[in-house]
């Protein structure tokens, strides 16, 4: 779809300004109900589009010049309201833009997409600006935390969107909304200018209509950044060429633990079986294998995430930017600002992290979780000696109903059961739509060794065709 937009733009069949106007027509019509955006700015987008149109006219366009997009609200955009779904940043306009936003400077930004507060949630319901609805069924959640990014792409309000994925926040909403979600290798895309949640896990992710579109955007965004010390200089592949290759001879492993997981929808099992058959028919070598520590991933994940959250969110203190609630004393200002500014999930994770890092408990929880993380990573290292790609469901089932899991934190956390392991290992993972259950889309997940995005894109593309 992005390729087609490119051709139409370059051939003069449409213009970037026309595209922006069309997308805004849809946003105005649909977003009142959907709530995919926290803020939009048509004037800014049109200005950027006019610049892009001049570049296109001069025949100097790159792959994405003039193509509009949406960015999750935890991306800093200079002089553009950036709240991360939190009241504590309600009026915050950053003085700088994230590297990934700067890399897309020839693309008009349609708006900032709704998300769970500071990217903490699996449903999109933790936003201080109201939940986003699933465009496929408005009584259901779109998945989180990149809820608005996924809903916007699925509803045709943006051709692609940026999100962030810490434990499944791009893949889960992609699966629930029936689109493609790519979580690249940890460090593949710069995180400079992304509001940090759990720094050892956070990555920039891509939400798109097709695997090819995700590959185009990945190509534009990836690479080392001197402003983010976690971005190694690893050569990028020619993703668009790689996805054209056949999966014949590809070694695909299917971890049995994922198929034996509790609460796995029968339709998901069925979809896995037909996918396995399809890859066999295409000439891939598919076999069942084991990732023995899968069942411990969520426990390790939540201890690590909460610990890092308690540290990262300490910066929101009312001093330099964001909300300030004046208090009698400095201490009271900190307390009132944070208490009023943060929602329940953010508070819960900060408190959990403060506890798991406190004297006497650090070894039992944080250290232990980090050790289990090592073992989970080793499971993957071992698996990738034998397999090019691992195939699993993205989620145990389709999108659930709004309000269904908000009362029980654990049941919400368990939505990440299939996505968190790849985050802990820092490996790339891709969710591609495949089949449906009860009229709602399902997704399949592909995982590969670090920096082998080509393999998952190629495998994902094969199931799409």
């Amino acid at each position: 779809m992005l390729k087609e937009l490119r051709q139409n733009l370059d051939a003069g069949k449409t213009s970037s300004q026309k595209l922006v106007e069309e997308y805004f027509k849809s946003i105005k019509k649909l977003d009142k109900d959907l709530n995919a955006f926290i803020s939009v700015d048509e004037k800014k987008a049109l200005k950027r589009a006019a610049e892009a149109d001049r570049t296109i006219e001069k025949k100097e366009s790159g792959a994405l010049t003039g193509i509009p997009f949406a960015a999750k609200d935890n991306f800093c955009v200079k002089h553009y309201k950036s709240t991360a779904g939190s009241k504590i940043l309600e009026d915050y306009e950053p003085p700088y833009s994230a590297t990934s936003i700067r890399k897309l400077e020839e693309c008009p930004l349609l708006g900032k997409a709704n998300c769970d507060e500071f990217a903490m949630g699996a449903s999109g319901e933790n936003s201080a600006y109201g939940p986003t609805k699933n465009p496929r069924d408005p009584s259901r959640v779109p998945g989180g935390s990149s809820s608005g990014s996924a809903a916007a792409v699925a509803a045709g309000l943006a051709p692609f969107a940026l999100g962030t994925d810490t434990g499944g926040s791009v893949r889960l909403p992609a699966s629930f909304c029936g689109i493609v979600g790519l979580k690249p290798t940890y460090g593949r895309i710069s995180r400079y200018g992304i509001m940090a949640m759990a720094s050892s896990l956070d990555v920039v992710g891509i939400l798109a209509d097709t695997v090819e579109d995700a590959a185009i955007v990945l190509d534009a965004l990836c690479g080392p950044d001197p402003l983010d010390s976690t971005t190694p200089s690893v050569k990028k592949d020619d993703y668009l060429k790689e996805i054209e290759k056949s999966v014949k001879g590809m070694r695909i492993g299917v971890p049995k633990e994922y198929l034996q997981a509790e609460g796995l929808d029968d339709k998901v099992k069925k979809e896995m079986s037909s996918a396995i058959q399809k890859y066999k028919d295409l000439g891939a070598d598919v076999e069942e294998m084991s990732l023995p520590r899968t069942g411990y991933a969520i426990a390790a994940y939540y201890v690590i995430v909460s610990s890092e959250v308690s540290s990262n969110l300490a910066r929101y203190d009312g001093v330099k930017y964001g909300l300030r609630v004046p208090g009698e004393t400095l201490d009271q200002m900190y307390i009132d600002t944070r208490t009023i500014g943060f929602g329940w999930e953010a508070e819960r994770r900060m408190l959990m992290g403060t506890f798991s890092l406190s004297a006497g408990y650090q070894d039992k929880y944080y250290q232990k979780a980090q050790k289990v993380r090592t073992l989970i990573k080793q499971d993957f290292d071992k698996a990738f000696k034998k397999y090019d790609v691992l195939l699993t469901p993205t989620a145990p089932g389709p999108a659930f109903e709004l309000g269904e899991k908000t009362k029980d934190p654990l049941s919400m956390y368990l939505m990440d059961v299939f996505t968190a392991p790849a985050s802990l290992a820092g490996i790339p993972a891709l969710s591609v739509p495949a089949g449906s259950a009860h009229g709602l889309p399902l997704g399949l997940q592909f995982m590969a060794p670090q920096f082998a995005e080509s393999s998952i894109l190629r495998a994902g593309r094969a199931i799409e065709l």
Binding site: H79, Y92, Y96, A300, Y302, V319, Y321, M350, F355, R373
Partner: protein, 95 residues
């Protein structure tokens, strides 16, 4: 592991968050259920296993120590909640 209401209040103090009494009870239940689940980690034998702090394997990444950003001072000050001239204003730190 059970996190008592008293423990919750103590952690709140450290994290600079205030909860109403009802919220303390709810937080105590929420945290206890998540920590109970985390007890699962005890089943894993981690003797002689190194903790993983990150996934890149990168070590001591450095760059030249020179100013390399394009913030405008005025922009920075504009995003501050309260300013006095060129400075960010806060309540006094020492009594």
């Amino acid at each position: 592991m059970k996190i008592s209401a008293r423990k919750v209040e103590k952690i709140c103090e450290l994290a600079k968050i205030e909860l109403a009494e009802k919220e303390v009870q709810k937080m105590s239940r929420d945290l206890s259920s998540v920590l109970d689940y985390a007890e699962k980690l005890e089943e894993v034998d981690t003797a002689d296993v190194e903790p993983a702090c990150q996934a890149t394997g990168l070590k001591n990444v450095r760059r030249p120590d020179k100013v390399d950003y394009d913030f405008e001072k005025t922009d920075m000050l504009e995003s501050a909640p309260e300013t006095a001239g060129d400075l960010i204003k806060v309540r006094k730190i020492f009594d």
